[in-house]
Amino acid sequence: MSSRAERTYLGDWAWTVDRPILASLAALMVAGLVFLMAGGPPVAERLGLSPFHFVNRQFIYLLPAVGILVSVSFLSLRQVRRLAFVVYVAGIALCLLALKFGPEIKGAHRWVQIGSFGLQPSEMVKPAFVVLAAWAFSEGAKRRDMPGALLAILLLPATIVPLILQPDFGQTMLVAITWGGLFFVAGLHWLWVASLGGIGLVGVFAAYTLLPHVRERFERFLDKDSGDSFQVATALESFTKGGLLGRGPGEGTIKRILPDAHTDFIFSVTGEEFGVLVCVAVVALFATIVLRGLVLACRNEDTFVRLAVTGLVMMFGLQACINMMVNVHLMPAKGMTLPFVSYGGSSLFSLALAMGFLIALTRRRPRAERLDRFAFGGQA
């Protein structure tokens, strides 16, 4: 590093970050604000708030989020791991506090109140968990004595048990699938892949039979006429009404009866007002980030970077896919927000952290820095 002292720190960053991902993220954030201008007002009106309440709040949240994203992206690999560790420990602790002292909202203890801002610590845990798990897997893969793999295996229950207790089925699933994906990419024997897949199926089946609300949701998904999938049916109607080109901004009517028009179902509102072509463009943005991230992961020779990038991108992509699939009725309804588009502070900060990690990890690094990991590996 010292030999390149004549370069500024910022200039160095600008030359090494992955621009397609950064551009896509910026586009998503701007688009999210625009879409929220459509989806936010009806919900705000219903709650007796000023029409642009959610848009304004989202904009205010976006500023620190962009700050988090950019500043995290400056970190070195080692700093990324350390930050992840700190955030993870703090997050899990806050989760447990929320369980004990947090207010009950819609039957779940997920929130920690900080002033007027309700923070969802489980959101912050997610990216930190991915980075830590990726590090543990990479260590486990490199070293015969296997403390890494064991640690990675132990990380899963440590993370999802608080989530299950909240309860937060959607996040649990997301974390578990991402973890499984990481394990898979880390080179899990196919025999285990097959049997873990089987266990996963058994788990889904167990959730279906043992947890009544899971079963209910699933049955509602299959039974079109139950009428209980009201949100989904309405969401579908909005795509149909919007057509390819949409009815125009502000012209939507179905958003008025969609309870979660500003969060889980903002994609449908987008469909009605801006048209399906714009929705496809949004899908393309997500696809760009995910696929570009995976390509970079593939190219990267560092095991930790490869795993961490894959994990972060998987979590991000899965969340987007699940939300969109619920909107177009390819999946039963699930509380999952659309990254950077849905309204929500915690989710935004979590995503900013995750994407900050992603950009930091995918920066083109000089060889000297890459050698750094050997030293780190030696320490561990």
Binding site: A141, G187, E237, I257, G271, V290, R306, C321, L330
Partner: protein
């Protein structure tokens, strides 16, 4: 990036790797060692495969994103849910019906455009508010019912059908999202009760439920609606009936008065054009208002001309007389011994107006002799009697345009006794219209014409007609009926100038398995003009009571005959038969030539 690349790189990449390569993998491994190596392999993370695996993850994501994009485009391009409302509404209400007009073109039934209020519960944001506002404007709505309806998870419910323009404006002004209006056709019968039993009615969904309305549906209108054609009544050709509204009004008016005066349970009257089979008017009381048919389906509202079956009594003697004359077993001058009661087994048949002498055929008819008529039937025999009644349509259900009809009640085993009683109209129950059609055939020259409610010409009728008796027999029947109006029981209907012929019939009703002396079913048939018949009037009363003028009698002449006379008197000027103030010269040439009783 391929697998080869990564395996190439393996030696260079993780520096300490070679130490851990399984060096024991040499041919001389024991089985146990090999198993151990395999187990170790199972637990080793094959990081060298990670690039391939990342590629697999990428492929999965590519699949997911394509799936979502495809589904999005599918949703936009192929709207799978057509407009719910339109579907519901067209199924229920847009159905138009053709106008129904009478033989002169007067409107009997027509469609009026009305507006109905519906709601889409899924689109109503505040259901309680909607219920409150709607019930405030439409006070006759039940708030609890409405709330239940709006809480149904359905796309469409009716709030109120067929509202007034004022109500529509008020609901419109409420501006409740999810509440809307659909235009509907409401069936209106401008003449109210006048032709209720003929027209029947259509329900709120404009589906024909009874009468001609149902007939219209069964003859293809519903199919037309199904294809979305019949949207407006103007698109449909009006259905023209044989009914004459003026006559219908007059007949109903007289019958209502008569039924009240004779304190009868029910009454019915009809006018048949015997040359065409057209029913010019038909009234059955009690009736209903097709505009508000709440009581139309009650039991006592049946159409007594078609749906009720009764023992017709002496009017059946016309059939028996025609049968014996037509069979050649007797002629107009034949005589029948009515001096003593007719004994059959333990039964004995007597005459109501006993004459106790030998009677000619016209006398048997004139005095309505049971003995004489029974002997006529016996002269023809059981099989001949059955065959004749079959030919005259008395043993089968009569089918007209009316969807409602009844099977006649015919004895299961038909012996001599049955023939004796059926000869004078007991022991067989038929619909009055059925008997009327048969008597019409006896009078019109011998052609059996199935009655119709649709306008038609004499030619069309004749094309479908079946000859059942000889023209000469027909003349004999006209003669005896005219004679009966001049000298016998039908004189009350003998309106001057119209050369009326007639026959009374009084049947005792069966009460508790026995014939009752006080509960009567009276019938009167009158034909005008008797020399060349055109119209046949029929009036029936169910359980008429004696009146001060009737000397304690409630037989047909005193009530049905009286009413028929009044109807005829009132209606005659509207008929296409001009009155003749001089009796026709030689109206029954054959009868005069044969020197029948009464011609001299």
């Amino acid at each position: 990036m391929s697998a080869d690349d990564s395996s190439d790189r393996v030696p260079h990449d993780p520096a300490p790797e070679p130490e851990y390569v399984e060096e024991p993998v040499v041919p001389q491994l024991s089985g146990r060692q090999r198993a151990f190596a395999f187990a170790r392999g199972l637990f080793r993370l094959r990081i060298e495969q990670s690039a391939v695996r990342v590629a697999i993850v990428g492929a999965v994501f590519l699949g997911l994103f394509s799936l979502i994009s495809g589904r999005l485009i599918y949703l936009a391009v192929m709207p799978q849910e057509p407009e719910n409302i339109r579907r519901f509404a067209s199924a229920a209400s847009v159905a138009a019906r053709p106008d129904i007009i009478d033989r002169n073109g007067e409107v009997l039934a027509t469609d009026v455009r009305m507006v109905s209020i519906f709601a889409e519960p899924r689109n109503i944001i505040d259901k309680d508010e909607a219920v409150e506002l709607l019930t405030a404007v439409l006070p006759d709505l039940n708030a609890a019912d409405l709330r239940n309806k709006l809480n149904l998870r359905r796309g469409f419910v009716w709030v109120k059908r067929e509202v007034t323009p004022r109500e529509q404006a008020e609901v419109h002004r409420l501006g409740i999202p999810g509440v809307g209006f659909v235009p509907e056709s409401k069936r209106v019968y401008p003449n109210g009760v006048a032709a209720a039993h003929v027209l029947g009615f259509a329900n709120i969904d404009n589906v024909g439920i009874a009468g001609i309305e149902k007939y219209i549906d069964s003859s293809g209108l519903q199919d037309l609606n199904g294809f979305g054609f019949a949207r407006q009544a103007n698109d449909l050709k009006p259905v023209q009936l044989s009914i004459d509204l003026r006559i219908q009004h007059a007949m109903r008016d007289e019958l209502v008065k008569g039924m009240a005066y004779f304190r009868a349970k029910a009454a019915a009257s009809m006018l048949l054009d015997v040359t065409t089979g057209e029913i010019v008017s038909l009234v059955s009381l009690p009736d209903f208002d097709p505009n508000n048919p709440v009581d139309a389906l009650e039991k006592d509202r049946i159409n007594r001309m078609i749906v009720g079956v009764y023992e017709m009594g002496s009017t059946f003697k016309a059939l028996t007389t025609a049968m014996v004359l037509d069979s050649g077993k007797a002629n107009i001058n034949s005589t029948f011994d009515a001096r003593s009661k007719l004994r059959y087994g333990r039964f004995s048949i007597g005459d109501y107006h006993g004459t106790n002498r030998i009677l000619t055929v016209p006398e048997v008819f004139l005095h309505s002799s049971n003995i004489g008529t029974a002997k006529m039937a016996l002269a023809v025999g059981v099989e001949g009697h059955k065959a004749f009644l079959k030919k005259m349509g008395q043993l089968d259900r009569m089918r007209t345009e009316m969807p409602e009809s009844s099977m006649p009640i015919v004895p299961a085993r038909w012996g001599d006794l049955n023939t004796i009683t059926i000869a004078f109209g007991h022991g067989i129950a038929v619909a009055p219209m059925q008997a009327t059609a048969a008597v019409g055939a006896l009078l019109n020259g011998g052609l059996m014409i199935t009655p119709t409610f649709l306008k038609r010409s004499a030619e069309e009728a004749r094309a479908k007609a079946v000859r059942v008796i000889k023209p000469e027999t027909s003349e004999a029947l006209r003669y005896v009926m005219r004679l009966n109006a001049q000298k016998g029981s039908a004189s009350k209907a003998a309106v001057p100038g119209y050369f009326v012929g007639g026959k009374t019939g009084t049947a005792e009703k069966v009460v508790g398995g026995r014939y009752s002396k006080t509960k009567l079913f009276t019938t009167f048939m009158a034909v005008t003009p008797a020399d060349s018949p055109r119209y046949l009037f029929v009036t029936v009363y169910d359980e008429p009571q004696p009146t001060p003028e009737s000397h304690g009698y409630a037989t047909a002449a005193w009530n049905a005959g009286e009413t028929t006379g009044r109807i005829l008197e009132r209606i005659a000027p509207m008929l296409s038969v001009p009155p003749r103030f001089d009796p026709p010269k030689n109206p029954f040439p054959l009868m005069a030539r044969l020197g029948a009783w009464g011609t001299r």
